[in-house]
Amino acid sequence: MMDEKAHIVLKDVRKAFGPKNVLNGINLAVPKGRSLVVIGGSGTGKSVMIKTILGILPPDSGSITIGGEEVTRLRGKERDELLLRFGMLFQGSALFDSLPVWQNVAFGLIQGRNTPRKEARDVAIEKLRQVGLGPEVGELYPAELSGGMQKRVGLARAIAADPEIIFFDEPTTGLDPIMADVINNLIVDCVKRLGATTISITHDMVSARKIADRIAMIHKGEIVWQGPARAVDTSGNPYVDQFIHGRAEGPIQMEILKA
């Protein structure tokens, strides 16, 4: 329906690690300037899916287009240019532990875009402020921060260059509910004010309801449901119902129950 304006489109994307099939034909479209939230159980392939879009993990087959351009076969300079349009928050933050926090946040500006260090530093301090961290934190090293603070630095790094596409892998995991809400607002702001297209992965339904325009549910490497965020409660889909109500009984069987 919104296909003509679709910004990110995945068609039948497959990925296996050895004998293990992780993505079994993902079909997904994110309209430009919209926020998609991907929900799904642990180990269902959510992180792998966004890594295939970024090209960190090349898909085995299928097509991924960004703004109509096929990106699965981009290499070298072309890929770097494409990646300049992206921001990514890793699930484990993935901060560079040899650099102080402000240089982590400013990294994409200094190395990727040749921004002067002084200017990049000012941007970094401002982005840190937006995620609730003071300028003094900028001088610390990642190892000196708590897990939640690292997550927020990772978030500041992801949005530092005001990218047009941002991926958030579990942005609120490990944050207290108040800070989680601050981060939710920040993500909403990125979409509304900067017009960014975002994909967020979360297990947190409060967060999902707040930031999502659309929600997709992934199970065993396939999208089992997708629709507008407000339809999530009336989807009639047994997977979605089980997930949003957090019930152990249902079509999604945890490994532990099978044993």
Partner: protein, 257 residues
């Protein structure tokens, strides 16, 4: 049957490893050593590889020079050739022991630390994060280390040569009774530029081997702390073996000229 299967498995694993290294080498050369060059990273790595290795390399060279002087004196006295001590110490250190021992010591120190650092960056997704920040990890991480290794090792070996010869000099004059002036004159008269440069060429090659192996094993480590530990060990062992093999090849090559 079982033996053959095992042998086949080992050979296959070895070939896979060599293939992996060759592909890595290709990327390192084509991507890592072409612009953009990260000057800041190169300087930082030179400091880490060179400056921090000085004490280890210096001590090794000093004691080896001293021991060499003693051994040559002992061996030489059987042919009344004790006067050769200064010359052979200088030759042995500059052509052979300086570069090989410095190479092995640096392999242990620097090769291991590169593998551990890059290995940790790999398993904590920092290398993936670099990619998403539009920075090629080969240019940002591998290239500067290779360049720093190739520049720094010859400098280190030059210093090791000097200290090693000095070790021989001290033992020679203090405990073997050589005249200080004669010892220095003998060293200076018989040592040729070729002796020194051949050692420095070896050093540059060893610097490349050490940093390449450190980067390769770091980049390919997986599976958390244990994987990083394995990468570290493999980096040290493989660079030590390659250094000794390359040393033989280079000696034959430089010798035949």
């Amino acid at each position: 049957m079982n033996f053959l299967a095992n042998l086949g498995r080992v050979v296959l694993a070895l070939l896979t490893e060599i293939g992996g290294i060759v592909i890595f080498l290709k990327d390192a050369l084509l991507q890592g050593l072409t612009p953009t060059i990260y000057l800041r990273q190169i300087l930082e790595q030179m400091l880490r590889i060179g400056y921090n290795s000085l004490p280890v390399v210096g001590l090794t060279a000093f004691f080896t020079g001293g021991a060499l002087a003693l051994q040559i004196y002992l061996g030489g006295s059987r042919f009344n050739a004790e006067s050769l001590v200064s010359t052979i110490v200088a030759l042995g250190i500059t052509r052979e022991l300086g570069p090989v021992l410095a190479g092995l010591m640096v392999a242990g120190r620097v090769g291991a630390s590169i593998a551990a650092e890059l290995g940790t960056m790999r398993v904590t997704e920092q290398i993936d994060a670099l990619t998403t920040l539009a920075t090629n990890p080969f240019k940002y991480l591998v290239g500067p280390r290779l360049i720093a290794g190739v520049i720094t090792l010859p400098i280190l070996v030059g210093i090791a040569d000097t200290i090693g010869i000095m070790g021989g000099y001290i033992v020679g004059t203090r405990s073997l009774g050589f005249n200080s002036y004669a010892y220095i004159k003998n060293t200076a008269d018989f040592l040729e530029l070729d002796d020194v440069t051949s050692g420095l060429i070896k050093a540059a090659v060893f610097g490349f081997i050490i940093t390449l192996m450190g980067c390769y094993h770091g980049f390919h480590s997986k599976g958390g702390a244990q994987g990083v530990g394995r990468a570290t060990t493999n980096a040290v062992v493989s660079s030590a073996i390659l250094i000794l093999a390359a040393n033989f090849a280079l000696t034959s090559l430089l010798f035949s000229k």
